[in-house]
Symmetry: C2
Subunit: 221 residues, 2 copies
């Protein structure tokens, strides 16, 4: 396990992902069932070892596609966790990422039994393997904070949406209610939205204008 340097241990490097979506008015995270020891049968964050010649971002992308089938989503590095005892087998440090996926973009969920995957509200997480609870807490904290000073919710919205849907998205991430008129004023004032000209005729009520983001980039207010 150790190199010729003695003091300098060979270290495993993994990436672990906090993949978020919003569904049924709940902020949810993807968990995968561990098939093997340690923590066999426990839920954990999707992750994997860094491969030969692979950048950290690329590794995170790879894990994302493996588990969700989805590409091209918002992703950012969160933090690196390196407690020497965090993996009982050997020294492994993990570079944690946050990813955001609009629920609509996810393939229809198959049975949890088959896939070993599930989406769980971040407020009612089960016991998680390793230090994944800590990682997840940190990710939720970062996401909640970032919502208030950036347009990061973009990563969770479908391409076109009603302003009321956008508002709900904010509300369920920050877990608080917002004033409709002030919300609309602020959002339109950012200049990041544009009207599509289309209307959403669903429902027995006045149809809503559909909006979309002008740019994919994350902007800080």
């Amino acid at each position: 396990m150790n190199t010729k340097y003695g003091d300098y241990e060979q270290t495993g490097v993994t990436v672990d992902l906090s993949i978020f979506t919003v569904n049924e008015d709940r902020l949810k995270a993807m968990l995968v069932r561990r098939a093997e020891a340690p923590f066999q049968g426990f839920w954990s964050l999707p992750g994997g070892f860094l491969k030969n010649g692979e950048s950290l971002d690329a590794a995170a992308q790879r894990v994302l596609i493996e588990k969700t089938g989805v590409n091209d989503v918002y992703m950012e590095q969160l933090y690196t966790f390196g407690d020497p005892k965090r993996d009982p087998r050997s020294r492994v440090i993990t570079v944690a990422y946050i990813a955001l996926i609009p629920w609509q973009n996810l393939p229809k969920p198959e049975s949890e039994k088959v896939t070993g995957l599930t989406w769980v509200s971040v407020d009612s997480l089960p016991k998680l393997a390793f230090d994944h609870k800590e990682i997840m807490s940190y990710a939720v904290k970062r996401l909640r904070a970032k919502v208030s000073y950036s347009n990061i919710v973009h990563g969770l919205m479908p391409r076109q949406f009603r302003l009321s849907e956008l508002q709900s998205m904010y509300e369920c991430i920050i877990d608080d209610k917002l004033d409709k008129r002030n919300f609309r004023k602020r959002m339109l004032a950012t200049g990041l939205l544009k009207e599509t000209g289309k209307k959403d005729l669903a429902g027995a009520h006045r149809p809503a204008m559909l909006y979309q983001f002008k740019t994919t980039e994350i902007v800080f207010f």
Copy 2:
């Protein structure tokens, strides 16, 4: 070099530190001269390999003490850089940290020739080894941003100080002038400062009250 897993390379893990101080009204970073290849003779960030059983934070602390002789300073993890080509020898990922040290707390600098250490204004950095320029840019960006929404400057101030010194600290980090009255109002309004009751009688002018921070913790506004 490779493990039995083939795809999964053994990876070196280092920590690299952007250590900042302010002196002569300049935000400066510590650089160390590389004694060995690669990048022999180049300036680089202080850093080192993660040791056996050592947490990332502990490794960063160790490097800090080795290079500065100083303990107990503000330090935070910055970002993890993992481009597969960032070290020409082999796969090494590095966890970057930011550290802040009040200039007054540093031991008297010996000759650069002897120590291989120097402090350079972040606006006039020389060519750096590896991807250290990129790391440093990111660190400066983070520090400049954080100054405006936290009391992180605490990490750069001596224990007691005049409000005008505090203002200068802000000004030279954000590289802009601030209004004296508004600055004082805002600072005192945070409630994070307390008067020491002492006066600074240096200089041929009205003596200044000395202040200190009530708490060591970093607070976000």
